[in-house]
């Protein structure tokens, strides 16, 4: 089992971390400590005035995402790169599965939130964004930034928990990018975003029609990708034992379809109880608040506060989104420790600089697109928003461009 690899079997004193048994004990002890701390935090958030169930639930949603992303390797850049470089479509099936399950879940929740989609307005909080060339530009920049920095924003967050040293630099870079986004926002808003349509399929097709089209489109993409699906490992028959369950959860990589379905479910639950999934709102709000306090950015960003999405607000505290992000990193870290996949990666100067630059590109892209691969792509497409599809296509094109230009090498 994977438990004895840390330390590489060095012969050392039994008290040293070099001893594999001690190392494993420390590793598992730490993992359990994190789990215990998260449970305690979830309970205490629930009892904290002005926090309550929404905060507690956000933490658990974040942990669930961190665990699923880590165990299922749900990293948009890795998934896109596997396909572009190696013609391996297995990761893409996780994305398709997430969108299919997410679409079904959203249709169910929409039916309760807004029984008549053709009426006035849009369903509360759903990530239905303005469709304009700005969204395409934002998606392209985001995709190139992914190739440069080695992951998207949610990817960096969960890989932070695996000890990926470029992640904090890329996330810092994204803060700079958000700042540039705010400074360009006014011009882009006046020129394009203010008159861009908020295209939402159920307005014309209803929920049933939208879901049918949604699933048909995903099926078509899946059919085209099927021949690029590598051979699956042979599965042994026989009885289900505790050992096999342990292997399935903690040792072998999760099946892409299962991983995707879990992401789709988590997204549905998040929308039902708190807000659609997104991981950039707290990050961009931090930047906006900092710029605002420094006097570089006015109190008002015309138009921004009216959109649903991962848009920034001026905030003084940690929002539910910040709690979610914390849960995501902690959940991934706990899983990485349990499965012995935590390892500090070696950082080169080039790797550091490209992480910063790529992060900045992603920050700008996510700011002007009102979200990233999670907020705009996943939560947008699941909500039947045209903006989600367009952003997704632009991000894919950006990653393809970045890889062809060997920016990720």
């Amino acid at each position: 089992m994977a438990e004895s690899t840390l330390g590489g079997g060095a012969q050392a004193a039994s008290t040293s971390l070099k001893n594999p048994r001690t190392a494993a004990a420390v590793r598992l002890g730490l993992a359990w400590l994190i789990v215990g701390a998260l449970v305690a935090l979830a309970f205490s958030l629930h009892e904290t005035p002005n926090r309550g169930a929404a905060a507690s639930f956000s933490l658990l949603i974040g942990v669930a995402l961190g665990v699923t992303f880590q165990r299922g390797r749900f990293c948009f850049f890795c998934i896109f790169r596997d396909f572009i470089e190696n013609r391996d479509s297995s990761g893409l099936f996780a994305v398709l599965s997430a969108l299919a399950v997410g679409g079904i879940g959203y249709a169910i929740v929409f039916g309760a939130f807004m029984p008549n989609p053709s009426g006035r307005g849009l369903p509360a909080n759903a990530h239905i964004g303005p469709v304009s060339w700005v969204l395409v530009a934002g998606g392209l920049a985001f995709g190139v930034g992914m190739a440069l920095s080695g992951a998207c924003i949610s990817g960096h967050l969960y890989r932070l928990g695996e000890g990926y040293t470029r992640a904090p630099l890329a996330l810092f870079g994204s803060l700079v990018g958000f700042g540039v986004g705010f400074l360009t926002w006014h011009t882009l808003y006046v020129e394009a975003i203010s008159v861009a349509p908020l295209a939402w399929l159920p307005k014309t097709l209803g929920y049933g029609g939208s879901l049918a089209l949604h699933l048909a489109l995903l099926s078509l993409i899946a059919a085209l990708l099927l021949r690029h699906l590598p051979e699956l490992p042979a599965q042994a028959g026989g009885k289900l034992t505790w050992r096999r369950i342990y292997q399935a959860v903690f040792v072998t990589r999760w099946n892409p379809l299962v991983t995707g379905a879990l992401v789709g479910l988590i997204g549905t639950f998040a929308y039902l109880r708190v807000s659609p999934l997104g991981v950039t709102s707290q990050l961009s709000s931090l930047t906006r608040t900092a710029l605002n306090n420094a006097g570089w950015l006015g109190d008002r960003l015309v138009g921004l506060d009216g959109f649903a999405g991962c848009a920034a607000r001026v905030v003084d505290t940690i929002t539910n989104n910040g709690i979610l992000i914390g849960g995501l990193v902690a959940g991934s870290l706990a899983m990485a420790l349990f499965t012995n996949r935590f390892q500090l990666s070696r950082l080169t100067v080039r790797g550091a600089l490209t992480a910063l630059l790529g992060g900045a590109l992603m920050g700008w892209g996510a700011m002007v697109s009102l979200g990233c691969t999670v907020g705009t792509l996943l939560s947008g497409i699941s909500a039947f928003a045209l903006s989600g599809w367009l952003f997704g296509a632009a991000v894919f094109a950006g990653v393809w461009l970045g890889i062809k230009l060997r920016l990720h090498a």
Binding site: A112, F113, R120, P123, A124, V274
Partner: protein, 314 residues
């Protein structure tokens, strides 16, 4: 011997319990049930077809993620104001809305919402303007219902179409700029109540922090007295007793002998005070919904600016 001791102990405990419960009982008892209902009252009538519960919350998604079972959602920004011009909802639009919520001429309408019932009180004002008499507020609003761990539902209610008919707008409970100006000039009798914070009233700030609807001038309407809306409620958001409310307003000369005009920034907080003065105390009250965002921008109307923040001064 032991039994007598036990009985005595029980009696003492019971007396203490009653004593603890009594103050809240007394404070509630004198609020007219025709205007304010308690959470207990409402919880017992959720299945009553004569009672229709309406939520007016302004934070998106609050209603959708859980409302009082059977409650209908009215959206302040589109349902209770005109979506294009600055005005209240038109009689046609409001009649359609109320009918689709299953409201009949004899329905008891109970409103509640987030933000201290401000927007729910606006809803009560609109119902009154269009002539629906039996309109009430849930004491303590959404916050109290949640705090008491009462049930919430995500199910969208569907009620049979009602027969509510909007009567001609009651002009006497809505004031326009000219009406208030007449009071300021002494041409009409009345007393004006500014329900904003002292900082807004004195002109130290234009609007509460974070709010964007601003005026060119800061300060207040001349002769207006300042009673911030929050002084009408207890710490838990429930209304104070009738006697406390009567004394509160009497102390600044608002005793019901003259017509009262209330205003704030856009009319949402002053709806709350309008409700207190007219529905709880029974005074003759008009709400000036143009409020400071109209008055503070209007050309040629007098203002008072005790803080001295008029343009060019600082």
């Amino acid at each position: 011997m032991n039994i007598r001791r036990l009985v005595t102990l029980f009696a003492v405990v019971a007396l203490i319990a009653v004593g603890l419960a009594l103050p809240s009982f007394r404070a509630r008892a004198d609020l007219p049930e025709s205007a304010v209902v308690s959470t207990e009252w409402l919880a017992a009538r959720l299945d009553d077809p004569k009672v229709r519960v309406i939520e007016v919350s302004v934070i998106p998604g609050v209603y959708e993620r859980g409302h009082i079972p059977g409650a209908v959602n009215f959206v302040w920004h589109t349902d209770l104001v005109d979506p294009v011009i600055r005005d209240i909802a038109s009689p046609e639009a409001f009649q359609k809305l109320a009918r689709s919520a299953g409201i009949n001429a004899d329905t008891t309408v109970v409103l509640y919402g987030d933000n201290n019932n401000w927007f729910a009180a606006w809803g009560a004002w609109i119902f009154s303007i269009y002539g629906h008499e039996d309109v009430r507020l849930l004491d303590g609003g959404r916050a109290k219902w949640e705090r008491e761990n009462r049930p919430l539902s995500i199910q969208q209610p569907s009620h049979p179409e009602g027969n509510f008919t909007a009567k001609p707008a009651r002009r006497e409970i809505r004031a326009f700029l000219a009406d208030v100006l007449a009071v300021v000039k002494g041409e009409a009798e009345g007393v004006i109540v500014d329900i904003r914070s002292p900082a807004e009233y004195e002109g130290r700030i234009f609007a509460p922090e974070g709010f964007q609807e601003l005026a060119i001038r800061a300060g207040h309407i001349p002769t207006a007295v300042n009673v911030p809306w929050g002084r009408a409620v207890n710490e838990d958001g429930t209304f104070k007793s009738v006697e406390e409310l009567r004394q509160l307003y009497a102390s600044v000369g608002v005793d019901g002998s003259k017509k009262v005009y209330v205003y704030c920034r856009i009319g949402e907080r002053s709806s709350h005070t309008w409700f207190v003065l007219s529905k709880i105390l029974g005074y003759d009250v008009a709400q000036y919904d143009g409020s400071w965002t109209e008055w503070g921008n209007a050309v040629g109307v007098p203002i008072e600016n005790p803080a001295g923040t008029v343009w060019g001064r600082q």
